[in-house]
Symmetry: C2
Subunit: 146 residues, 2 copies
DNA sequence: GTGTAGAACTTGATGCGTCAAGTTGATGTT
DNA sequence: AACATCAACTTGACGCATCAAGTTCTACAC
């Protein structure tokens, strides 16, 4: 669990000149129908803090891969939208990433272990997010019940 | 796999004022009979680059948790040894860490999934380390066959 | 209609990780 | 004996993450 994320990140940077986390952000956006998402929602989907996301989005915006726009009439909400250039970048990076995941993980496992891994993943995520103080990144206020 | 290391690291810093990686270093040393290890070997066991380890060991030395000493008559090799204070720190931090691992992972899994996880771990490690250029951290020159 | 609380970010300082380049010993090579 | 090479680190610069503090809206209270 220590080595895999590191390995995927290293490969991402070598092959596509971006962080694994940057890829996640772009990738999540690319899967939305309008390639747009509110910052908080994006942070939740990328399991990052709003602060981290803000920094990263700032950089990606400078690179022209996405754009920010205030949502009018609704608090201080901000939308981020993938640009064409940004979409092209994700599309170019995706196959390499998928190949890496296969190579390091999926192709190495028997079907039963793959299923086990899925169970483990959800179990761990649940366990972490039911701690004494569920993190803001995991369950942002806008999705929290009153 | 993204969330678990992050969660364990966060807890380590909250409860024991050190990085998860710092804990690993101290912990590995504490398991040696003489609480001593050569830098390269330590790097391999902690799956880190020599550079990273050097920085971290520098900090831990400043905190008085370990000490460095040149190995005489053998290249430029350096030993790091856990101090008493360092040992006490590991001993104090260990129970909390074990509890965290149980809470987030082990206690959540059925026995068969735990066994699967073990298989997955070794499979992934192998897959990563047989890449085109096996990393120096994983197989340091001193352990590499000619 | 002022005041307070809170949500949704943004910003700046600090610290750790990484990469490239430098040191320092030992081991051959000619 | 001089030189090149290599292994085992160390160091410095730079980038990214985190934390605490600030900003900017809305909404509700009185």
């Amino acid at each position: 669990m220590i080595s895999l994320p590191a390995a995927l990140d290293a490969r991402m940077q070598r092959e596509s000149q971006m962080t694994f986390f940057e890829y996640m952000v772009l990738s999540v956006l690319s899967e939305e129908p309008d390639r747009t998402m509110q910052m908080s929602a994006l942070a939740a989907r990328a399991s990052a803090s709003l602060s981290r996301l803000s920094h990263v989005v700032g950089r990606l915006e400078k690179r022209g891969l996405l754009a920010r726009s205030r949502i009018p009439g609704a608090g201080r909400r901000t939308n981020t939208t993938l640009t064409e250039a940004g979409y092209d970048v994700v599309v170019a990076a995706a196959p390499g990433h998928v190949a890496a995941v296969r190579e390091y993980l999926i192709d190495e496992l028997e079907p039963r272990d793959l299923k086990a891994l899925q169970r483990i993943g959800t179990a761990v995520e649940t366990a972490i997010n039911r701690g004494p103080a569920p993190s803001a990144a995991a369950t942002p206020a806008s999705q929290r019940r009153p």
